[in-house]
Amino acid sequence: MKPAVLTGEHFLTGDSACAEGALAAGCRFFAGYPITPATEIAEHMSKRLPEVGGVFIQMEDEMAAMAAVLGASCAGAKGMTATSGPGFSLMMENLGLGIAMETPCVVVNVQRAGPSTGLPTLGAQGDMMQARWGSHGHYEIIALAPASPQEIFFQTITAFNLSETYRLPVLIMADEVVGHLSERVLIPDPSKIRLESRPRPKGRKDRFRPFHPGANGVAPMANAGEGYMVHFTGLTHDERGYPVMTAEAHTEMVSRITGKIRANLDKIIQVEEYRLEDADVALISYGISSRSSYSAVDEARARGIKAGLLRLITVWPFPEEKIRELAGRVKCLITVELNLGQIHLEVQRCAAGMAPALLVGHAGGTVITPARILEEICGASRQ
């Protein structure tokens, strides 16, 4: 067996760093179907998982891949899949099943430009609302947005920790550029990596109620096959996991699966502030677009314009409080993203007229340049 944690300094693509992050997080199961620009994650896992005693399966399609990951998780494994837009669409139904069954796992979407087959080799950030609302029904989701290979390594670990702590699928919304970009990745010693695991049941196995929440609103999870009474279904169910077809049971279940996230927003949401202290113009960005935004902020500051950046590390749940606070003290908000306005709509909603909310975005296929953002900052600062 080879080490699961490749401690040391590496020059890796975002896709490879994501795979190494998963292994460092204890992921020992990957099921997927190859798709540009996420294929290298599957390729990397197919080489590395057998080396560390894990299982890699190339499935017949993305629906099956998502189902296999849920199955592995119900049996106690940490499981992951990785895809891009078309595959992400196919995974939506079983993603909903994972939410209803409160099954921890990680789903990576290395975004390319859509809709449909779109531009397979070129990046976009057009699936951000799909990440939030792509599966049917009302639910909460956690989605992270990495901006570098180093960050995707750590975010993959974070994603597993959050999925285990709160028992739900966690999304990593990367993009083609971050997936294919190579950069320094420092992998720490395993003793420096904090890992969380799902709450586990205690007490009599025949009296176990698999959806009876613990103190933080999350129910302990028994592995299928270890003797506890478990019943999983996508139907609305009670604390025993048995279907109950009433509005009351539905309210109780949906309140639980949304409440466990809403009650822990301060523990889940992470943002990074860059030169925002005295900013007049605040950029809001994430993923590859945030890297252009850093450059634009520096270039605007060099021209005497007080610009700053709020980088979203967690995109869902949305950092509503932070945007409200920012809208109350800056002259203008500019969302920078590789779509025609998705997170922009959330920013507008939270700003609620306290500050104008503008957008720098396009449909994808090429990154947004610092020059384009700078132009918007200059325009906004003259208002």
């Binding site: 020059f11 397979p120 080799t121 190579s182 950069e183 320094r184 890297r291 450059s295 520096d298």
Partner: protein, 201 residues
Amino acid sequence: MDDSPTAKFKKEILITGLGGQGIILAGQVLGTAACIADHLESTLTQSYGPEARGGACSAQVIISNKQIHYPYVRSADIIVCMSQSGYDKYRHMLADDGILIIDQDMVRSAEGAGGGLFPIPATRIAEELGRKMMANIVMLGFVTSVTGVASLQGMLSSVSDSVPKGTQSTNIAAFNKGYDFGQALLKARQKKAAAKKGADS
């Protein structure tokens, strides 16, 4: 960050050619050498079409002693062209004082900039060594030699780490061929410049 007192060093390098020539690997070797051996910041981005071989492709490497936010070339300090189509597509991105490096058998007509034009028959040299596919490694030796953008030791160890096992020694030989070709070219140019200076004075 950018306003710290140490001087900022930044080089933007664009390597272009056809899919199958090992353009991305060349970028990988250079980026790794700068990052791991030379302890600088480096980024590698790649662009390619849906086809794996034959289509135009490019690797963009940024090397800096500061954090690199935007990982794309805006004004290239060095452009390396291993195909005519790559030259035609990317020549306009060369900085006014930039260095242009070409495979002279693959790029028929090339116009350099302030940093000079450096031609090498990299593909022919690789063919003479018995492996045409090592043209990218020959080219990396030449680039190291004439630009000094990464350290010689760093590049040698990066080549060894990046090529398939069992091919290290032939690849190192190819790298050295390119490096020596560059040293000879520089020497010849120095001699010529000295002779011209002597004639002028």
